[in-house]
């Protein structure tokens, strides 16, 4: 193993460490899960402890797309467009069972899981998920980011 490869691997780790504590998220909030998202973001659970406290309301400035709530077929092209507008590297969190699988909305209106439209990194099930689940999902995402798992 040469000197160069040793240096590169350490640089990746440093970048991963920096990225996982500076998550700029884009909250795509469409339904009731939004209340739980707010509870997680506020001071009691305080998502800022994990460096994810500053939501960006432009997808161009965001690293992580939080899809929070039911996605209807009418909304699906909008979600896809938002995802396409995000710059690399980017990650996606499916927040709540509706985004994971469609939940109990097995009907004409609802997308049966957002992974049919865009790639998803972390699934947080629950209807809605408790803030502890969300933080658990966030930490799993941090592990993924630190490991350099990205999609190009």
């Amino acid at each position: 193993m040469g000197v160069g490869s040793f240096f590169t691997s350490k640089l990746d780790e440093a970048i991963g460490w920096a990225r996982k504590y500076s998550i700029f998220q884009y909250p795509f909030v469409t339904a009731c899960c939004g209340m739980e998202y707010m509870a997680t973001a506020c001071s009691h659970y305080d998502v800022d402890r994990f460096g994810a406290g500053l939501p960006r309301f432009s997808p161009r400035q965001a690293d992580v797309l939080f899809v929070v709530g039911t996605i209807s077929h009418k909304m699906a092209p909008v979600l896809k467009r938002i995802y396409d507008q995000m710059t690399e590297p980017k990650w996606v969190v499916a927040f709540g069972v509706c985004t994971c699988t469609g939940g109990f909305y097995d009907n004409y209106a609802t997308v049966q899981g957002i992974d049919t439209i865009i790639p998803v990194d972390v699934y947080i099930p629950g209807c809605p998920p408790r803030p502890e689940s969300v933080l658990d999902g966030l930490m799993k995402l941090q592990d993924k980011i630190a490991a350099g798992a990205q999609r190009y």
């Binding site: 077929h73 699906a76 896809k80 004409y108 997308v111």
Partner: protein
């Protein structure tokens, strides 16, 4: 005003245009002729003692294969009227057949009927004659059919993007 008295008022004024009335646990309903609906609603709104100044809901029911109603008209369009001044309610219904699913619009009486009628068109495929903006309200333009009809296949999906299922 008591519900029974409201129904009496309607029967006295419109006679045969009121097809049928009934009451169930304090809810009073008049089934009326389709042609007279706008006139009846205007009467309900403008008479001082009735004073129905609010259309609190406008919806429809599909009775396809409903036990005991297989032969009757397929749809009912339902109007829920409320009076803020008198705190009383009444429900008006029209029965429409599938092949003549057209109803006069109520937009001229209550502007809120605009979106409610668009929703009924979207979900049940009942058209409203004279509606100023007869587009779908909830579903997208590419959607085919009317999902709350009882014969809409329960597994039929029409995604705009993603896998066709």
């Amino acid at each position: 005003m008591e519900g029974a008295a409201i129904l009496d008022r309607l029967r006295a004024r419109f006679g045969a245009a009121v097809v049928e009335t009934h009451a169930h646990r304090g809810d009073h309903t008049a089934v009326v002729e389709r042609a007279a609906i706008v006139e009846i609603m205007t009467f309900c709104r403008d008479e001082t003692d009735l004073g129905f100044d609010m259309l609190s809901d406008l919806t429809a029911v599909d009775f396809l294969k409903f036990p005991g109603r297989e032969d009757g008209p397929r749809f009912e369009v339902v109007y829920h009227l409320y009076s803020l001044a008198h705190n009383h309610r009444v429900r008006l219904k029209i029965r429409v057949d599938e092949d003549q699913a057209v109803v006069p619009t109520a937009v001229s009486v209550w502007p809120i009927a605009n979106w409610l009628e668009r929703e009924v068109w979207d979900m049940f495929g009942i058209r409203f004659q004279g509606h100023p903006d007869p587009r779908r309200l909830l579903m997208y333009e590419e959607f085919v059919g009317h999902p709350l009809r009882k014969d809409y296949p329960i597994n039929r999906r029409q995604p705009l993007i993603g896998p066709k299922i």
